[in-house]
C-alpha cells in the first residue's frame, strides 16, 4: 500500500462523509426529504445487515454466521436487551464453528 493510495482513499472517504453535514444549513430540506433520507439510511443499513450476514466476497458466508445473526435477530425482534441479542449471535456462531459447521 502506498501513502498516496491511502491518502486518496482517506480524502475521498472524508469528502463522502462531509458532503451532507457540510451542505446542511445551506440548503433547506423539506420534512418529506429529511424523512426520505432517514429511510434511505435504514434501507442501506438493512442491506448491509443482510449482505454481511449471508455473504463473504461474492459467495455464501457459510451457515455459522447467518445462524448466529438469525438467533440474535429473533431475540431482538422480541425486544430482548441489545447486549443479550449480540452475545447470543456471537456465541451461536462461535459454537457452530467449534462443532465444525463453517
Amino acid at each position: 500500500m502506498t501513502i498516496l493510495a491511502i491518502l486518496l482513499l482517506a480524502a475521498g472517504t472524508y469528502a463522502l462523509r462531509a458532503a451532507g453535514p457540510g451542505l446542511a444549513g445551506r440548503i433547506e430540506l423539506s420534512e418529506r426529504v429529511r424523512w426520505l433520507l432517514s429511510v434511505a439510511a435504514a434501507v442501506l443499513l438493512c442491506a448491509l445487515v443482510v449482505t454481511a450476514a449471508l455473504t463473504s466476497g461474492p459467495g455464501f458466508a457459510g451457515w455459522a454466521r447467518p445462524a448466529g445473526v438469525l438467533a440474535g435477530g429473533v431475540l431482538a425482534v422480541r425486544r430482548a436487551p441489545f447486549l443479550v441479542s449480540v452475545v447470543v449471535a456471537v456465541a451461536t456462531t462461535a459454537t457452530l464453528r467449534l462443532l465444525g459447521v463453517s
Binding site: I6, G12, G20, A24, W35, C46, A53, G73, S85
Partner: protein, 244 residues
C-alpha cells in the same frame, strides 16, 4: 462564558445517555476493537510496514473499506485499485452523512470533526433515537469511542502481529451484522420503511455475486421505490417507542 457553556453541554450529553444505551455502545466498541486488532495484525503479517494500518485506521476510519483495500494489495493488486475499491465501499457514507446532517448542524470545527465520525454504527445509533438531544449525544459518544478503540485496536494488532489468531473462530464476524440489525429494527416497525428496506436488501443480495463489493448495498436504494406503492406512503414519524 464559553467554557461554562461547553461544560453545560457536556453535562447535557451525559444526561441524555442512560446506562443501557452506554452499555450497548460499550459492547459495540469492544467488538470493533477486536476487529481493529485483527486489521493491524493481518496487515503486518501480510508484510505491510506498521505505518500502513496505523495511518489507514486514523485517516480512513472505515473497517470494510480498509479490509477490502488491504486484501487487494496483499493479493498483489495495484494500490490505486485498492483505493478505488475502498471508495466504492464507502459510497454509502454519502447518504449516511445527509441522514445525520441534523446532528452535525453545529459550528464549523465541530462539523468538520464530526463528519469524520460518520460510520455505520454511529449512524445506526443516532437513527435509533427520536429526541434530537439524544441523537446528537449518541452520535458523538459512539463515534468518538469507536474512533479511539479502532485505532487502539489497530496499534495492538500491529504490535502483536502474527500472534493474533483468527477472530472468526470467536464468532465475531456475526457481531457487526447483528449490531446493525438491532439498531435498525425500531425504524423497520414502520411498514413503509420495512417494505423499502426488505426490497432493497433482496436487491443487494441478488446483486452480490455479480458486482464488486459496495455496489450491491448501494443498489438497495432502489428499494425506496417501494415507498411509491399506493398505500405504503408513510408518515414522517416512525413509532415513538423506538430506541435501544
Amino acid at each position: 462564558m464559553r467554557a461554562s457553556q461547553r461544560l453545560a453541554s457536556h453535562r447535557h450529553i451525559l444526561d441524555a445517555l442512560d446506562r443501557r444505551l452506554l452499555r450497548a455502545i460499550g459492547l459495540v466498541v469492544l467488538a470493533d476493537g477486536v476487529v481493529g486488532v485483527s486489521f493491524g495484525a493481518i496487515a503486518v503479517s501480510g508484510g505491510q510496514p506498521a505505518w500502513v494500518p496505523l495511518v489507514m485506521s486514523s485517516a480512513v476510519f472505515a473497517g470494510g473499506a480498509q479490509f477490502a483495500a488491504l486484501y487487494i494489495v496483499l493479493g498483489g493488486g495495484a494500490p490505486a485499485a485498492a483505493a478505488l475499491a475502498g471508495l466504492v465501499l464507502n459510497a454509502r457514507l454519502l447518504p449516511f452523512g445527509f441522514a445525520v446532517a441534523d446532528v452535525l448542524d453545529l459550528r464549523w470545527p465541530a462539523r468538520l470533526l464530526g463528519s469524520h465520525l460518520v460510520v455505520d454504527e454511529s449512524v445506526a445509533f443516532a437513527l435509533a433515537q427520536r429526541d434530537p438531544g439524544r441523537r446528537r449525544a449518541v452520535f458523538w459518544v459512539s463515534g468518538a469511542l469507536l474512533f479511539v478503540i479502532w485505532n487502539l485496536g489497530t496499534a495492538i494488532g500491529v504490535l502483536a502481529g502474527r500472534a493474533v489468531g483468527n477472530p472468526d473462530a470467536l464468532g465475531l464476524d456475526a457481531a457487526s451484522p447483528m449490531v446493525l440489525l438491532a439498531l435498525v429494527l425500531p425504524a423497520l416497525r414502520e411498514p413503509a420503511v420495512r417494505w423499502a428496506a426488505l426490497t432493497g436488501a433482496a436487491i443487494a443480495l441478488a446483486a452480490t455475486p455479480f458486482l464488486p463489493g459496495g455496489l450491491p448495498v448501494l443498489l438497495a436504494l432502489a428499494g425506496l421505490a417501494a415507498l411509491a406503492v399506493p398505500g405504503a406512503r408513510g408518515r414522517p414519524r416512525p413509532d415513538p417507542e423506538g430506541g435501544t
